[in-house]
């Protein structure tokens, strides 16, 4: 049986390959240039993305290529200041997870509970928000988990929510 760690390692090694990047054209699949994250940072981001938004009956954050997208985003969008802040956030999360018992789902649950109960741990909340943003605006997130219409073509001001279904991705 494959352990979670092995799954994650497999995903990490596949980053830069088409599988993890298929959702995002602008993640420039196939390019071999150096990424933003160190191997350890990428492992952490991958763990967070997979734990916060796992594959269920719909694709999860890994299926949607979220870690690779975040890597590309910080490489090409972020200023040096934002890059440093983001690295600081990841370092903070790592230390907190260690405090809760290491890089595992139980520790993350404790961190998440503490973050929202105490209006605290903004390093974690910030990264979690970014993971959600990248996921829900990805093609699988927007069209399989939620729904999205490029050209609605009509305005329905109010309909029973059951008729509309899930949250609009946008």
């Amino acid at each position: 049986m494959t352990t979670r760690r092995q799954v994650l390692q497999g995903l990490i090694f596949s980053l830069g390959g088409a599988a993890a990047l298929s959702a995002f054209q602008n993640a420039e699949a196939g390019e071999k240039k150096a990424g933003f994250y160190s191997a350890d940072e990428l492992a952490l981001v991958t763990f967070l993305a997979d734990s916060v938004i796992p594959r269920t009956d719909t694709p999860g954050a890994i299926d949607a290529g979220v870690p690779a997208y975040m890597d590309h985003l910080h490489l090409t969008w972020a200023s040096a200041k934002t890059q440093a802040e983001h690295r600081g956030q990841l370092a903070g999360i790592k230390a907190k997870l260690d405090g809760f018992g290491g890089r595992n789902v139980n520790a993350l649950k404790q961190l998440d509970t503490a973050a929202f109960a105490g209006n605290d741990h903004w390093d974690y909340r910030s990264v979690k928000s970014l993971i959600a943003t990248v996921y829900y605006l990805s093609e699988p997130g927007a069209t399989e988990e939620l729904h999205y219409e490029l050209v609605p073509g009509r305005w329905i001001a109010s309909a029973p929510i059951g008729e509309i279904g899930r949250t609009w991705a946008q």
């Binding site: 719909t58 959600a132 999205y148 609605p152 305005w155």
Partner: protein, 571 residues
């Protein structure tokens, strides 16, 4: 190219497009001078991209943003993205100055269509009271026209542009020639009813927006189609569903075969002949080659947008007009106004959570001004309107939980929220002005603008009242989890800076007396009769309504008058 023109229109934006269309349709040969490039729907519009096709979440590289768009990033972050940045001026390449402690946010679009590509499409008529306010309270000069003078021209421009709205029957916010409005959501309907019940003189209506909902044959013949309810308007609209010069007036002008449009034509000055007392030519520098050329015509329409038109006039100095063309009154460059905000409130209406919407409506609600119209207990002059709307925030990462529970929670949208924000009427004040920098020039040799515009005590008192009103309306509507500008209080520092609402106006005002105004009631220079200015510069007061529709009506009216004068041989 044939260099014989009857009319030159400087600028191809909101008002310039209208001047070109009306003059061309009257049979005049028209030259439009546009300082930027000609936009291409295929290359410049990004409205057909899905969220996952937008690079980097549509965020502009942070260093690039800081270098090129520091003002716009703060002012119009909602519209400035990686896929829309081509519509916004790179500020470091087009400098201007403001005094320490008195910012002015000058937001510009230098391309065919100008800011008509980037506007928020809110379209309201001024009411009868708005043409009388200056005379009534003594600020500024009396408008030389009244509502009835402009009403047929509002009809004219609304029929062509296409405005969706309801006939609401509010005398101070007159109805027009509307296409069907976008229906209000359940929370908006409840808000409207409850506010009106608690405050019978306050009317909450569907926003009137320049979107086709039932296009006419004329609109379809121009290649325009109905709004597809995408709310991607700031990326351009491939359907031509919202009004812009690019979708509507320039194509209409082109089909007459009377239009010539030259891109990259930066106007430096307008020449004046003291013998004939006419403007004789327009001096232009090519933005790329720096070659200069003078174009001539019988009449000139100046529609470069308020600040730029003012700079051109101030830079057109001669012995006859040493302080700028047509400035015998000394008012040119003065009385600069903009709408301003800094008051608002919002709250949740979870009682309607059994309902959800489909489509992304490009407008919301509007609260017509009542201050000093139907409510007279105010410690300030004039008033304010509110723009707003409801929404149901969707997914968020800012919620507790991980894993399947987190995904499940985000499948249901959060409770309905509703919010409103005030737009205030700024008093005309001579001290608020635009001038030419004495030494600094831009890369084409034009003196850069120095803009000194400040809000005053009346504006502060007005926004403080608007803030209290917004909160009271949220309470009256039964909202929960209310937030408002009352939370921190409204101070001079918390008001939006002039320029922020992108409704700058007033620096070449119309008036009855040549001694105190630049233009007459036809937006025609008192001093130089073949010169017309019909962008925001011509406005004697700002009212509270978004002004583009009024610029359109004033322009169409002035252009038809000018064409008659040309045909009669007067000009």
């Amino acid at each position: 190219m044939n260099d014989e023109f009857d009319a030159i229109v400087i600028g191809s934006g909101m008002s310039g497009g209208w001047a070109a269309k009306e003059l061309c349709e009257k049979g005049l040969k028209v030259l439009v001078l546009e300082r930027g490039r000609e936009l291409s729907v295929e290359k410049d519009y990004s409205d057909m991209l899905s969220p996952w096709e937008l690079p980097n979440l549509d965020r502009i590289n942070e260093e690039e943003l800081k270098t090129h768009y520091p003002v716009a990033a703060e002012s119009v972050g909602y519209a400035l993205h990686e896929t829309t940045k081509q519509f916004w001026v790179k500020e470091d390449e087009q400098p201007y100055e403001t005094p320490e402690g008195a910012p002015f946010e000058w937001l510009r679009g230098y391309h065919s269509g100008g800011k008509s590509l980037m506007w928020s499409r809110q379209s309201y008529r001024f009411g009868p009271q708005d043409f009388e306010s200056n005379k009534k309270d003594g600020h500024g000069v009396d408008w030389p026209i009244r509502y009835d003078d402009l009403a047929p021209w509002y009809d004219h421009v609304e029929r062509f542009a296409g405005i969706s709205g309801n006939r609401d029957g509010i005398p101070s916010l007159p109805d027009g020639q509307f296409q069907p409005a976008f229906e209000l959501t359940q929370p908006e309907k409840a808000f409207a009813e409850r506010v009106n019940k608690a405050f019978p003189s306050r009317h909450v209506i569907a926003a009137r927006v320049a979107h086709l909902t039932q296009p006419t044959q004329e609109q379809m013949d121009l290649g325009r189609g109905p709004c597809q309810v995408r709310n991607h308007c700031h990326r351009g609209c491939s359907f031509g569903a919202y009004f812009s010069s690019v979708s509507a007036t320039l194509p209409a002008a082109r089909r007459t075969e009377n239009l010539t449009l030259i891109s990259y034509a930066i106007v430096q000055a307008i020449d004046y002949d003291p013998v004939s007392k006419r403007a004789t030519g327009v001096r232009v520098m090519d933005a790329n080659t720096r070659e200069t050329k003078t174009y001539t015509a019988r009449i000139i329409f100046l529609n470069a947008s308020t600040v730029a038109s003012t700079l051109i006039m101030l830079n057109s100095k001669s012995e006859a007009f040493p302080t700028g063309l047509a400035n015998s009154s000394g008012q040119l460059g003065h009385n600069l106004m903009d709408h301003f905000g800094g008051a608002g409130a919002g709250g949740e209406l979870p009682e309607f959570d059994a309902y959800y919407h489909a489509g992304r409506r490009p407008g919301g609600i509007y609260v017509a001004n009542y201050a000093n119209i139907t409510e007279h207990d105010k410690p300030f002059l004039r008033g304010y309107g509110f723009q707003g709307g409801s929404s149901r925030p969707g997914w968020t990462g800012n919620r507790p939980g991980i894993g399947e529970d987190f995904k499940q929670a985000n499948r249901t949208p959060k409770p309905w929220t509703i919010g409103i924000n005030a737009f205030g009427d700024m008093l005309p004040n001579f001290r608020n002005n635009i001038s030419l920098h004495p030494t600094k020039t831009d890369k084409w040799g034009m003196p850069v603008a120095v803009i000194d515009c400040r809000l005053g005590e009346n504006e502060l008192k007005m926004m403080q009242a608007a803030s209290k009103d917004a909160l009271a309306m949220m309470k009256a509507a039964g909202c929960t989890n209310i937030w408002s500008s009352e939370d921190r209080g409204v101070t001079m520092e918390s008001l939006t800076s002039p320029g922020n609402k992108i409704h700058e106006m007033g620096t070449a005002r119309m008036g009855r007396d040549p001694k105190t105004s630049v233009l007459n009631g036809w937006c025609q220079s008192h001093d130089v009769p073949n010169l017309f200015i019909t962008d925001g510069s011509c406005m004697p007061s700002s009212a509270v309504q978004n002004p583009s529709l009024t610029y359109m009506a004033l322009t169409a009216r002035a252009a038809n008058h000018a064409a008659e004068l040309v045909k009669a041989g007067v000009l």
